[in-house]
Amino acid sequence: MTELFERIGFLQQGPFSVPRWEALFANIDLLWQGALVTLLVASLGLALALALGTLFGVMSSSHWKIARGFSRAYVEFYQNTPLLIQVFMIFNALPILFTGMFIPVIAIGVLGVGMYHGAYIAEVVRAGIQSIGRGQLEAALSQGFGYIGAMRYIIIPQAMRVVLPPLTNQAVSLIKNTSVLAVIAGGDLMYAGDAFAGRFGHYGPTYIVVGLLYFVMCFPLARLARKLESRAKEA
């Protein structure tokens, strides 16, 4: 059997040969660690993005003109420039702002994807707020709901139906975009894969496994988004 394997050319040579797979699985811990860093950056980044998105989304639907303008500028700037340059900016600007302080690369990643996706989430939140007519709140209040009660039972459930599907899609994009950390040696999954592949030239198997890991992280969320979308349409 082993002899047979040794005689089949593409199993022994070429980008997807067996020895390359063996080398990869001997070092698979590198990819696990990378995946953990990716998950960490993604969850912290998502928390930051949600906070910024809610803040700027509420600001852009306020009556205060300065708040609206500020929010508009944030959203337009971040949506129209590449994430990569924003990360480079943070990477170079932070050490100047905080001289002598040690700034972990992970923090740059969290700030980068958090602020970038915060701009997209702000638009989602704004759309959610605008989707609910002013009459809804007035109707609820007139029926004896308190403000909090009206929000809790009338406004937020309706807004959630509008907001949740695009929000879930943003979470998927955010996970994928943490891969930008690879460019600044951030130790995430893409970096770990690329570093390993580059060191020994085992690009084929490594990228397949890296892709599989990203897929496993993103696909369930993407499915959830689809389900929420069709549920929102039915209602």
Binding site: E76, T81, L84, I85, M89, N92, I96, K176, F215
Partner: protein, 228 residues
């Protein structure tokens, strides 16, 4: 004022190499993005139509492609095109961007077609329209209005994501910026380079987004009730 004129930033800004480098980078960025946009619009339409068709194997192939590619990072696809497919830098960037964007555009096309109620089809067919006529006169006009905003925002994404081609040294705007940052290494100079690059991307993408918003408003006049 004198202090500024003698500063490292002013020295850098008076060097034509800066503008030649960034200009060449910008040209390549636009070229890569334009080719990717054209290719992925073509392939995206085909794959979106395949999925919309509902024919057993054809539709499943399209669905699998879309679902797999949509859940992979753009950088990974560019790296695969470069290292595994062995394409030269510029084409690796084009193919990597095209593989990804095709999946996104296919979904937009399908979503747009799906947004037109089946009743519209049935009404058109019952009035003697052929399949192609119903598509062209009845289904496509409202569907296209729905597709414009997501497709244009995807084009903007392509221009932004073409910066990932920096990792394979494709010589586009970001990469040129990095090279220049090696020559003008002082923090104030590096930040200035990045500000210039940011503003360049911003000017292009903001212009595209604004035109698209106007276009959509213009097209959707009088279509308020359909697929809205």
């Amino acid at each position: 004022m004198d202090a500024f004129l003698n500063s490292p930033v002013a020295e850098m800004l008076s060097d034509p190499v800066l503008y030649i480098g960034l200009g060449n980078g910008l040209l390549l960025t636009l070229e890569v993005a334009a080719i990717s946009i054209v290719l992925s619009s073509l392939f995206g339409t085909v794959i979106g139509a395949m999925r919309y068709s509902g024919f057993p194997v054809i539709s499943q192939v399209a669905t699998t492609y879309i679902e797999v590619i949509r859940n992979l990072p753009q950088i990974l696809l560019i790296l695969v095109s470069y290292f595994v497919l062995g394409l030269p830098g510029k084409w690796a960037a084009v193919i990597g961007l095209t593989i990804y964007t095709t999946a996104i555009i296919a979904e937009v096309i399908r979503g747009g077609l799906n947004s037109v109620p089946v009743g519209q089809w049935e009404a058109a067919r019952s009035q003697g329209f052929s399949f192609l006529q119903s598509m062209w006169y009845i289904v496509l006009p409202p569907a296209v209005v729905k597709m414009i905003p997501p497709i244009v925002s995807q084009f903007v994404t392509v221009i932004k994501d073409s910066s990932f081609a920096m990792v394979i040294g494709a010589g586009e705007l970001m990469f040129k910026g990095q090279i220049l940052a090696g020559k003008y290494w002082r923090p104030s100079q590096i930040i200035t380079i990045y500000v210039i690059i940011s503003l360049t991307y911003f000017a292009i993408n903001f212009a595209i987004s604004t035109v698209a918003r106007r276009l959509q408003k213009k097209l959707s006049v009088g279509r308020g009730s359909i697929g809205n």
